[in-house]
C-alpha cells in the first residue's frame, strides 16, 4: 500500500511549501467556483461568466504593471465588470450578451497592451504566461489568507440567498411574485461570481478559469436532478480535479522533458473535461425520456 502511494505521490509532496499553498488555494477555488458555476449554468449566463473570467486578464496584467498583487487586479476588474453587466440589465438577455461582448473586446484590447508592457518593460514573458494560464505552484503564501477569506465570504453570500436565487434563476417573474427582490439577489450573485472568477484566475489563469466555473457544474448537472446535489457533485469533481492536477504536476517533474513540471492548469482542465465526458455518457442513460 505504502509502496503504491510512494509510486503515485513523489517524495516530498506533502512537505513542500508550494504544494501546501496550491492545495489550500485550489480547494477554496474549487468549492466556490463550482457552486457559482451551477447557478451560472441554470441561469444561462455562462457567457457572462466566461467574459468575467477573460476580462480578468486585464486586471491581472494591469496589477503587475503597477506592482500590485495579481489577486487584487483580478478582483477589482471582475467586480467592475459585474457591476457594468448589472447596470446593463439582467432582464434583456440579447442586449446583455451584445453589451458583454463589446466590453469584453475592449477589455482584452487593454490586456494586450498591458501584457506587452509587462513583458517588454520587465523583460520577462513568465508573468504573461502566469496571468493567462496560471501557475498554481508559484502562488505567494502571503495570498492564502486573502484567498480563503474571500472564498468563505462569497460562499456565505450564496448560502444566504440560496432559495431566492434558485427561484429567480428558474423564472424571475415567479420569484418577483413571491416577493423576492430579484435585482438585488441578482446583484449579490454577480458579486459572488466576480469573487469566484477572480480566485479562479489566480489559480489556473484568466483564459482557463471558465473551465473550472462551467465544467464541473455541467458535469454534475448530467448526473443529478436536485440542485443541492448538483452543487455538492460539482464541488467534488472540481476538488478532485484540482488536487489531482497539483499532484500530477508535481510528479511530472520526472516526466519528459525531465526536470520541468507540466503546468497544473493543463491537468486540472483536462481532468474536468474528462469528468464532463464521462458524466455525459452516464447521464444520457438515466433520463426519464
Amino acid at each position: 500500500m505504502s509502496g503504491v502511494l510512494r509510486a503515485v505521490v513523489e517524495p516530498g509532496f506533502f512537505s513542500s511549501g508550494p504544494v501546501q499553498v496550491a492545495l489550500a488555494v485550489s480547494a477554496a477555488v474549487a468549492l466556490l467556483t463550482s457552486t457559482l458555476g451551477v447557478f451560472t449554468v441554470i441561469r444561462g449566463q455562462s457567457f457572462a461568466g466566461h467574459s468575467l473570467a477573460d476580462i480578468g486578464a486585464t486586471g491581472g496584467s494591469g496589477a503587475f504593471l503597477i506592482g500590485a498583487g495579481p489577486l487584487w487586479g483580478f478582483m477589482v476588474i471582475s467586480i467592475a465588470a459585474a457591476g457594468a453587466m448589472q447596470a446593463v440589465g439582467v432582464e434583456r438577455q440579447r442586449g446583455r450578451d451584445v453589451a458583454t461582448g463589446v466590453v469584453l473586446g475592449a477589455s482584452l484590447g487593454l490586456a494586450a497592451l498591458f501584457l506587452y508592457w509587462d513583458s517588454t518593460l520587465h523583460n520577462s514573458s513568465g508573468e504573461t504566461y502566469t496571468i493567462l494560464f496560471g501557475s498554481m505552484l508559484a502562488i505567494s503564501p502571503a495570498t492564502v489568507p486573502a484567498v480563503l477569506g474571500l472564498g468563505a465570504v462569497a460562499l456565505g453570500v450564496v448560502a444566504i440567498i440560496y432559495r431566492p436565487l434558485l427561484l429567480s434563476s428558474v423564472n424571475a417573474e415567479l420569484a418577483a411574485a413571491r416577493g423576492v427582490p430579484v435585482r438585488l439577489v441578482g446583484a449579490a450573485y454577480l458579486l459572488a461570481l466576480a469573487a469566484a472568477v477572480a480566485l479562479s484566475c489566480l489559480a489556473i489563469g484568466a483564459i482557463l478559469s471558465t473551465a473550472l466555473l462551467i465544467g464541473p457544474a455541467a458535469a454534475a448537472l448530467q448526473l443529478t436532478k436536485r440542485p443541492w446535489r448538483a452543487i455538492v457533485g460539482a464541488s467534488v469533481i472540481a476538488l478532485a480535479a484540482s488536487w489531482l492536477g497539483v499532484l500530477l504536476s508535481y510528479d511530472s517533474y520526472y516526466w519528459p522533458p525531465r526536470g520541468h513540471s507540466w503546468p497544473v492548469s493543463f491537468f486540472i482542465v483536462t481532468l474536468v473535461f474528462a469528468c464532463y465526458l464521462a458524466a455525459r455518457l452516464v447521464g444520457s442513460r438515466g433520463r426519464r425520456r
Partner: protein, 285 residues
Amino acid sequence: MGLDAAPGRAGELLAVSGVSVTLGGREILTDVSFTIAPGEFVGLIGSNGAGKTTLLRVILGLQSPNAGSVLVAGKPRSRRNPMIGYVPQKFELDADMPLRARDLVALGIDAHRYGVPRPSRARRERVSAMLRAVDAESFADARIGELSGGEQQRVLIAHALIQQPQLLLLDEPLANLDLRSEQEVVALLHRLAREQQIAVLISAHDVNPLLPVMDRVVYLAGGRAAVGTTDEVVRADVLSKLYGHHVDVLRIHGRVIVVAGPGGERGADLTLAHGDEDASLELEG
C-alpha cells in the same frame, strides 16, 4: 352587466377600481374596475396585447397603476401577499435544470426566505400532499424541464397553491396545451376552486375552454373592460361597444365565436384572435 366597483365592500376578496396603466406612452389599461368574491371563478378574456398580463401584474403589485386602486381583502395590495398565488405565462425550462417537480413545489413554501433550507418531515409531507391534490404524483421526481406543458402547468399550480392563497392568478395557462391537457387543467382548477374555496382569475385569449366553469368574465379590449356573466358580456351589443366597432357573437353547439362585423378596420385582428382553430375544427366535424 355592472357588478363592478364600490371598493372595500364586505365579502369582496379582490376589488380593482378605476385602474389605468400607461407604458411607454401607450395606454394599456383604461379605468378597469371589477371585484372578485371568495371562491369565484373568473375568466380574464382578451386577445394578445389586450392588457391581460399587465392587469395581473398590477394585482400582484409588480406594476404600479397610473390611476386607480387594488384592494385585496380590503387592504391595499403589497408585494409578496401570501393571499395571492401566481402562475406566470409559459416560460422555457431547460431540460438540464436540476430541479424536480417536487423541488419547485417546495420553493413555493419559502423561496422568499434567506439561508439554507432545513429539510423536515412535515415539509416533505406538505409537498407530497400538494402534488397529490394536483394529480402530479406520478411525475413528482422528474426534472421539471422534461415534463410536458400540461404537467408543468400542474406543478406551477401546486407551487402557487402550497402557501394556501385565497386568490389564484393564472396568466394564459392554457396556451400551447393540447386539447386534452387543456380540459384537464381547467377541470383541475375548477375542482380546486370548489373544494378549497379558492377564487380563480385566469387569463385566456379564447373564452370557450372556460365557458363551463366560469362564474363571471372580465373581457378586455382596447384597454377597457366589460364585466359580468358570460351571457351578460359575450353579446354582440356589449362587445361592439367595447371594441368600438361592430362585432358578431355566434353561438354554435355550446361554443362562442366572436367575429368582426363588416367594415371594422381592426376586424382582421379580431378574427385572428378569436377565430380559434379548435372551435372551427370542431364545427367542421
